[in-house]
Amino acid sequence: MGFYFAQFLTGLANASSLFLIASGLSIIFGVTRIVNFAHGSLYMLGAYFAYTLITTLDAGGFGFWTGVILAALIVAVIGAVIEILVLRRIYRAPELFQLVATFGVLLIIQDVTLAIWGAEDLLGPRAPGLSRAVRIFGEPIPEYDIALIIIGPVVLGLIWLLFSRTRWGVLVRAATQDREMVGALGVNQRWLFTSAFMVGAFLAGLGGALQVPRESVSLLMDLSIIGEAFVVVVIGGMGSVTGAFVAAVIISVLNAFGVLVFPQISLVLPFLVMAVVLIVRPYGLFGTAASAHGPPTVPEAPMKPMSIAGIAVVAAAVALVALLPRLDDGFILVLMIDVLIAMLFAASLHFLMGVGGMVSFGHAAYFGLGAYAAALAVKALGLPMLAAMAFGPLVAALGAMIFGWFCVRLSGVYLAMLTLAAAQILWGVTFQWQSVTGGDDGILGVWPARWASSKPAFFYLALVLSVAGLVLIRHLAHSPFGYVLRGGRDSPIRTEAIGIDLRAHQWLGFILAGAFAGLAGVLFAFSKGSVFPDALSIGQSIDGLIMVLLGGVQALIGPIFGASAFVLLEDYISRLDYWRAILGGVILVIVLAAPNGIAGGLSGLWQLVRGGRKTGERA
């Protein structure tokens, strides 16, 4: 009995930290409609600043709590800087831009933190006066945990007071419900958004600072918390602080007990809970329909079939690439294979997002499924390479069929979050299921058949399959089915009103996108000779998003440019120190300066060359 109660209290203590970060995320989303990927970074910064302040300031209760509050305040100021420099410019951009931009911020903060505090984990002091344990029902409970259990509801109460008793709070709530209305009231939106972001950043910083006595401060804190924070915000309903509190408690307590039954569950459980909640309540526990969508976007120009000249250029490009093995059979060829795989992966994601309007934050799930399925087909089932290559996309399609069934029931940010949840669940499973997937050690020795084992041979195989995939995807986009998906993206109401079962079509689109991603994954597995859980990590999903964004969302040709640029860029800068910060900087420059991506930029140039024909046409 006492043990279970202790476990329950541990859950509540965890809930408090989770609530602090999630409430900030939720407030920021509510007001600005931005899903702030860098929120985990603010949490991490809070911990680092608190560590420095606490260890510098004199020890003792006063020093500790002053340090915590100061750290949170510093983070709030950093939040304001980020808001003013970056976010303010992208409030009207599509969700994808915002997500990728905040991911760029995350990368930069990682490297800045690394530069300032170094790579070593830092072990902070215990909280003075709260360093012991009290016995409750005979079980030792850390005093600091009890303090946290109290702090959570106190902060909730303070936020509630702020929201209900101040004009600022009223405005924040109004903006959460209806942003246009706030504009109509003549309120200074800029100030409102900046201040809301500061409050969110403060809460994240506070959450991080309060973690110092509980866990070592490390560079992994940002990504380790962000997934769970997203889950909490989504379960609670985006924009709802009360929802964030309830969800944080549910997740943390379930986790505290879940690990007793099945120790590996903690990686998967939050995402499972989220999936269940979203299926029952598509806008989360306390969310409303209005909160699901970002700002409306500018409609793209009608699609045009490729001109004869365009086809000639593409054919020439493919022919040129096909000559590559004559020039070099080493490093460049390997890089080129990476590019081809990335193109296919990015194109499959673009089909889902650009054509179908279903923004996925977890497309790596199907890339990884394809890769693992092929690897297992070879290693466990003993299938020959070609059979494994067919098996991979099939398994990926099956996965997309299962997860897609749930995902297409949602839209906007919620859909994106559910795709992320799906990917995290799969990642957790591959990571934990040692006996089948090899866990962290991955699966090694996934080599191509003998006839394809030389680099040039495999290069041609990858070239044929990627180009075939790209052509098929393009063909699909122009087919009646592709038009239905575009129609659903433009106006779901109109699509249904002309007799179309949109969900069924979206589901099929999701499955097809999954299959193509799976094919990319298969090629990846054979080209590397191994698969690791990384293949379905958040990082891989984000890479795909960056490629789509780099290329330009509103052009079918975009992913091809985007993937090439990304792979070459990454290959080059990953050899540099602080490559994350450089990549982050590049991302920000593109989002802020060239929001239509490379394809958009090229078509803009093309139009300039042709003498300023009507705007809006595209490559």
Binding site: P299, M303, H475, Y483, V484, R486, G487, I493, G499
Partner: protein
């Protein structure tokens, strides 16, 4: 004989009755107007007729077949087309492609993955566009259209399935008076040539009295009058609702 029969249709939102016990019938090839002040429940009625909102009570039958409980897409398949008060089109497609989409669905080719969508039913689409006077606009991006043109495009889309019943929610809102009369005259012609029955809402009383065969008046969710133009004009209840004159309707036409 009536094509569409509505009986005791009711819907409340959070305890407030938006539509209460509305019953009426739409005859074959009839041009029936549903009028009433803003917030009277006209759009809610339309939404119940074609499946966007499930009524709390009541029934809607199309040639004797119950429509309540069916999804909008099923209602469309059965022959009820719809245009929206806030137009719903595909802005990232051309005008012609918008109509082609409806035709692709009409011919049940939405799952086709081999053909090029823009090559399917292009002539049929152009015929429909010509029917609503938009042949010239066929190749333009839909996003560039003026509001009145969007309304006409919606009409062409609705005609693609050769509907038995057409529901038009404020089809002339945002149009110049001459355009309104032209669109209504066009709709009248379509009714004659195609035998389709039309139920429409409209704020411009001139338009209503000139074109509608019969008029229903909705106020705060209930039908308060039903009859021909002169009957409605003479009805004291209607006059009271509109503060004694058709001119008051004009002021409301803008805040659709």
């Amino acid at each position: 004989m009536s094509v569409l029969s509505v009986s005791n249709l009711s819907k409340s939102f959070g305890g407030v009755d938006a539509v209460r016990d509305v019953s009426f019938a739409l005859g074959a090839a009839e041009f029936l107007a549903l009028i009433g002040p803003n917030g009277a429940g006209k759009t809610t009625c339309f939404n119940m007729l074609n499946g966007y909102i499930r009524p709390d009570r009541g029934s809607v039958t199309l040639e004797g077949v119950e429509l309540v409980g069916r999804k909008p897409r099923a209602v469309w398949r059965m022959g009820v087309g719809r245009t929206f008060q806030i137009t719903q089109t595909f802005p990232s497609m051309t005008v012609r492609e918008n109509v082609q989409m409806a035709l692709i669905s009409h011919h049940r080719r939405t799952l086709n993955m081999t053909r090029r969508a823009t090559r399917l039913y292009a002539e049929e689409a152009d015929t429909l566009l010509a029917r609503v006077g938009m042949a010239e606009e066929a190749a333009r991006p839909c996003a560039e259209l003026a509001y009145g043109d969007l309304k006409r495009l919606e009409l062409a889309i609705a005609l693609a399935h050769r509907p038995k019943v057409l529901l038009m929610d404020e089809p002339t809102a945002g149009m110049a008076p001459s355009e309104r009369i032209a669109l209504m005259a066009l709709t009248g012609e379509i009714i004659k040539s195609e035998g389709v029955s039309v139920l429409f809402t409209e704020h411009d009383m001139d338009v209503v009295f000139t074109h509608a065969h019969r008029i229903l008046v909705l106020n705060r969710g209930t039908l308060i009058a039903e009859g021909t133009g002169p009957e409605i004009r003479a009805n004291p209840m209607v006059q009271e609702v509109y503060l004694g004159g058709g001119t008051v309707f004009k002021g409301e036409a803008n805040d659709a």
